[in-house]
């Protein structure tokens, strides 16, 4: 059981919002790319549409959830890490 007093949460409105907007957007494009790569046997026309529809929930989900981070720096670090992971996977899939 954690009895230590939890640290205060920094509001960092601007920093968190910016992280959610920018990194959330790139993350959504990365997720669309992953979907596109994994659903390769679907015709391009509909695969591209589904990938495009995926961007809105990922982007808005990231932007909505970003205020759960304890401060702005963590928001940038975690979302940046998620971006690296997604785009890394995408690069690996393309090379492999």
């Amino acid at each position: 059981m954690n009895t230590a007093k939890p640290k205060a949460i920094a509001h960092d409105w601007f920093s968190k919002t910016l992280a959610g907007t920018l990194l959330g957007f790139t993350l959504s494009i990365g997720c669309a790319g992953l979907f596109n790569a994994l659903a390769g046997d679907m015709p391009l026309g509909v695969r591209g549409q589904l990938a495009m529809w995926l961007t809105a929930p990922v982007w808005k989900g990231a932007l909505s959830g970003v205020y759960f981070f304890r401060d702005g720096k963590r928001a940038w670090a975690w979302l940046g890490g998620a971006n690296l992971l997604v785009f890394g996977l995408l690069a690996a899939l393309r090379l492999g």
Partner: protein
């Protein structure tokens, strides 16, 4: 969850809600009406010799051949309407778009219709369809702005993004009391409690509807940009080349449209392919070119449709072969059906008329969600009279931000309501009396809208709310009264159609007018008898 997160998300909810709420009110009120865009277009269309009946199918080939011979420009894209309705031509229709116009903005298009006279000779004339329903749809699509252009859609996209964040944050704030307060609507002396319940029950119960609206609206605003970036980063430019219309063989000789299969045969192919499909129109595309296609548009009552006006099966008009069923309701591949469901869930294009009414009411409930959110904001910032006030003091002055927010809420929301009703009424009164009726629709709407806003700030929210609700009632009652008057006094030069759809417009407006009367009376009661320490009170005597 730590209460600190709740507080943070409460701030997020408050700010996103305040910024986006009033724009969303307009989007939802106009959107609810847009559900009945077709009945409204029919209501607003004057009787005409070239509209209102369907051309017999066996005469259609003759009409098509003559029209294409005399007007080759129509071959690119024309429509044969199969159903009779007041706003649909008895024959073919096509538009000529102005070069460089935004492809979402059809306001500059010139419309033509071709009909057969009794001697079997095609007559082509310019048509001037009422843009009333289109204008209300535009208000819906770009949150109250006048035209559907790129910059306006970007603004709408920002509002939609704020709306999505407001939904998530609202749910987070509500989580601790979600189960305990589900379905609660406690009417009583605690006004904040009442508005909170009234707001929450709509927000929580219809959350899936709102999540769909928020996310689809973000996509509708930004899809061009998403596709562009996606093409560069993901599809390596294949997307653009796959869907560009270039690359057609340059020197193919024009085909003779007289060799096309007659419409009856194309319809039979569609019917064979999907017996539950009900066709409403045939859209002929590039019929003299190598990639001629006819889209048989219609609905399938058992399935969801990919577009507001339905779905289609594409048929080769020269061979009668089915070319494409990606947009045919009920016959799509799973991925296509999933993509279509996003559109269908935004437009309510499944389940027919009952679902249109469900969406209408859920849309109005959504408008109320945003309105009540602002009421709650104002109520939270209320400065109450001292508890031990023995009645010898004047009520305390209310905060300026609360007074202004109340005035803005009343002015913008009720201004949009009044403006829409008046602009609908104008479709009949001004027809034939002004040169450019479609411009008048805009002028009237914005005159009422800004007038209401100025009035609300000028005399304060409490009085303005009463006046504007009464005005909304008057303007909305004027819709069925105009139809009644037109029927009683034909010399006025107006019209009343007898179709159920158009009478439904009048009946709905009558019910809406009664609703505004009821709201106006409740608002008056609040202003006269409610607590004096409120922006909504007009009593200024000692409490």
């Amino acid at each position: 969850m730590r209460s600190e997160f709740i507080r943070i998300y409460k701030s997020v909810h408050t700010w996103t809600g305040i910024v986006a709420g009033m724009a969303l009110f307009i989007a939802f009120y106009a959107g609810a009406i847009t559900l009945f865009k077709e009945p409204l277009a029919r209501w607003a269309t004057p009787p005409s010799a070239t509209h209102g009946t369907a051309v017999p199918l066996d005469q259609a080939p003759n009409l098509i051949a003559q029209t294409l011979r005399d007007h080759p420009a129509a071959a690119k894209d024309f429509r044969l309407h199969l159903k009779a309705a007041e706003h649909l031509p008895s024959g073919l229709a096509w538009q000529v778009l102005e070069a460089g116009a935004d492809d979402h903005d059809h306001s500059s298009a010139r419309h033509f219709v071709a009909t057969l006279d009794t001697g079997g000779v095609a007559r082509v004339e310019a048509a001037h369809p009422s843009r009333l329903a289109e204008f209300i749809d535009t208000l819906h699509r770009v949150v109250g702005l006048p035209v559907d252009t790129d910059p306006n859609r970007w603004i709408m996209g920002i509002i939609a993004a704020l709306y999505a964040v407001a939904l998530v944050s609202g749910v987070i704030v509500l989580l601790p009391s979600l189960v305990k307060d589900l379905f609660a609507l406690r009417v009583g002396r605690n006004l904040k409690r009442m508005w909170l319940d009234a707001h929450n029950v709509v927000g929580i119960v219809s959350l899936p509807f709102h999540v769909v609206m928020a996310l689809t609206a973000v996509v509708f605003a930004y899809h061009d940009g998403f596709y562009f970036i996606q093409d560069k980063l993901i599809h390596d430019g294949k997307w653009a080349t796959a869907f560009s219309s270039g690359g057609a063989p340059a020197k193919a000789p024009p085909r003779d449209p007289a060799a096309m299969r007659p419409p009856a045969e194309l319809l039979a192919s569609a019917q064979d392919f999907s017996p539950s499909f009900q066709a409403t129109s045939l859209q002929y595309l590039n019929v003299t070119g190598p990639r001629a296609a006819v889209r048989v548009w219609g609905h399938d009552p058992t399935a969801h449709s990919p577009r507001f006006v339905g779905g289609f099966v594409a048929i080769d008009p020269y061979s009668g072969k089915i070319m494409n069923v990606d947009f045919l309701p009920g016959r799509q591949s799973l991925p296509n059906a999933i993509v279509s469901s996003f559109f269908a869930l935004h437009f309510g294009t499944f389940g027919g008329t009952p679902v249109q009414w469900m969406y209408f009411l859920l849309g109005l409930a959504g408008a109320w969600l945003f309105y009540s959110g602002n009421l709650l904001w104002v109520e939270t910032r209320r400065i109450k009279a001292a508890r031990d006030d023995d009645g010898s003091h004047y009520p305390p002055a209310q905060r300026r931000d609360a007074r202004w927010m109340a005035a803005a809420t009343v002015g913008i929301c009720l201004g949009a309501v009044c403006g829409i009703s008046l602009t609908i009424v104008a479709a009949k009164w001004l027809h034939g009396r002004v040169d450019d009726l479609n411009a008048w629709h805009q002028v009237l709407y914005y005159a009422v809208f800004f007038g209401a806003l100025a009035w609300a700030f000028g005399i304060g929210a409490a009085r303005a709310a009463i006046h504007l609700l009464r005005l909304a009632a008057v303007f909305t009652f004027a819709i069925p009264l105009t139809s009644l008057l037109a029927w009683l006094l034909p010399s006025l030069g107006m019209w009343t159609h007898g179709s159920a759809a158009t009478l439904g417009v009048d009946a709905t407006a009558l019910a809406g007018g009664l609703g505004f009367v009821w709201l106006a009376r409740a608002t008056t009661r609040r202003a006269m008898q409610g607590s004096t320490d409120s922006v909504w009170s007009i009593r200024r005597e000692k409490s």
